[in-house]
Amino acid sequence: MTELDGPFTPNREDVAAKVIDGELIIIRLSDGTYYSMDNVGTCVWELIEAGRHLPDVVRTIATWYATPVERVEGDVATLVRELLAERLIVGAPAGNSAPSEVAAPPAGSLAYAAPHVNIYRDMGNLLALDPPTPGIDDLLFRARKAD
């Protein structure tokens, strides 16, 4: 067991993510930096989100993509380090609920390629020039729901 075994969880305080047409778009709300991953990276994210430990993530990816575990292991470890460095995932709190099921990707998207995070810092860089902007979540007011 290593510090990379997990389980991890998306950094829900600061990250919004959505899979659309097989592409994962992740947005870091605090500074506007956004990220995309396709195919294998999307599957890794969904497995992490489902609460899987990394050895389980690696075995699942290797099975889905018919690729040697040794190759997948190194690629996933590299990806997870990057996700941690970007604060997109964090360690899951102890006692987290049992892992949930994740559907395998559709046939035809199963050509294995090392997962890669595309990082778009253009908005993040612009935002970094200004003082931290208040977010609507900083101004929560729950006493009234309109209409």
Partner: protein
């Protein structure tokens, strides 16, 4: 002044402002008292109008001629002579100099309030988030989110920045709209026969030029940079116009000779873009709300105009990045969820613009009718 029917508050200058509450901070009580005093002193200097903002009735009262002209003007297309329902939001503003009633000295915040620098001003929120204030230069405005009452003053109503003149109350309205479930997006919005087309993108990507060219060619206009997006109970996406103004850099204004004489530049800051009050030019082409039928990502500088389908992930990136950077307060997870649902349900296209702006209307018509990829010219 407009009027509302059964159940309306009715009345004109001199009536009581919205009721205060026990929990109201002293500074807000002082603002309400000061506005009431200004109304009593100058009952004939208030301009009191009814509007429909995102389909909701709103009353806007402004005391002071210069401030009234500059505040009401951008909402002209949303004005209504009569509204049956009681206003959901009431906005009360006054010009300190003209009314000779001070408001700013009483508008100080407390140690319990939370503060942020935003839009070159100071945004303040009470600990429970109910009262949100924005202080900018010699003005202050507070929104009570419980009673839906906005109250504010400024030292000199003639000295508005271009942003305040072309998009009055934007920050406070953004919070009010959020509370209603209407999300502000940084995007242009035009329409063809009532079918709305969103034009997301950062500044400089052609939103204003495309919106104005479309308007000049007979398309309908709802906004060139900020609009409200709402999911109707039916699941449909509805785009709401916030302002009937467009701001355009001087060099591009030359491309619209019929609009050039109408450009307004009497704003406080001399280096800002000229403002076009479009409801004064083409009132019949300015819409308040439309259903959204397409998302169009703009590309400029192409040899000829082309249309091709865009990937939904591209549309999501355009919307999310631009809106996160531009809308204040910064949208949260709910906004991104709504944008995600939008691009999942509404077709997205690339409109790669050539040099001839006359291509814009036929391009939008083809997109609305579901055209496949093609050269337009």
């Amino acid at each position: 002044m407009g009027a509302w029917g059964e159940g309306g508050a009715g009345g004109a200058a001199g009536e009581q402002p919205a009721q205060s509450t026990d929990a109201e901070p002293t500074r807000v009580q002082r603002m309400r008292s000061a506005f009431l005093e200004a109304l009593q002193r100058h009952p004939h200097s208030v301009r009191d109008e009814l509007y429909v903002f995102a389909g909701r009735p709103v009353r806007l009262r402004v005391l002071g001629a210069a401030l009234a002209t500059r505040t009401h003007r951008a909402f002209a297309h949303l004005r209504r002579a009569h509204i049956a329902a009681k206003p959901l939001l009431t906005i009360d503003l006054w010009d300190e100099t003209e009314a000779a009633v001070p408001g700013l000295p009483g508008a100080e915040t407390t140690d319990l309030d939370r503060h942020w620098i935003a839009c070159d001003g100071m945004l303040t929120a009470s600990p429970d988030g109910r009262y949100v204030s924005f202080r900018y230069q010699d003005s202050v405005i507070t929104l009570d989110r419980q009673t839906q009452h906005m109250i504010g003053c400024r030292r000199n109503g003639a000295q508005l920045s271009g942003g305040e003149y072309s998009k009055p109350l934007l920050l406070m309205l953004s919070i009010w709209y959020h509370d209603l479930g209407v999300q502000l997006l940084h995007t242009g919005l035009i329409a063809h026969d009532g079918a709305g087309v969103l034009l997301p993108g950062e500044s400089g990507t052609g939103k204003s030029t495309t919106s104005l060219a479309g308007l000049a060619q007979g398309l309908e206009f709802l906004g060139d940079d900020f609009i409200g997006l709402e999911r109707a109970p039916t699941g449909a996406f509805v785009g709401h116009s916030l302002f009937s103004t467009a701001c355009i850099v001087r060099e591009n204004l030359a491309r619209f000779p019929e609009l050039r004489p109408l450009a307004v530049e009497d704003t406080f800051a001399a280096d800002e873009k000229p403002i076009l009050f479009l409801a004064e030019v083409h009132p019949e082409r300015i819409r308040a709300s439309v259903p959204i039928r397409a998302v169009v990502l703009l590309g400029i500088g192409h040899e000829s105009t082309q249309i091709r389908p865009a990937r939904r992930a591209e549309a999501l990136r355009h919307f999310a990045a631009s809106t996160l950077h531009t809308v204040v307060p910064r949208p949260g997870r709910e906004a991104l969820r709504m944008i995600g649902e939008l691009v999942e349900n509404i077709p997205a296209w690339w409109l790669l613009l050539g040099p001839d702006l006359r291509d814009i209307r036929p391009s939008i018509e083809r997109i609305v009718s579901g055209a496949s990829g093609a050269h337009v010219s």
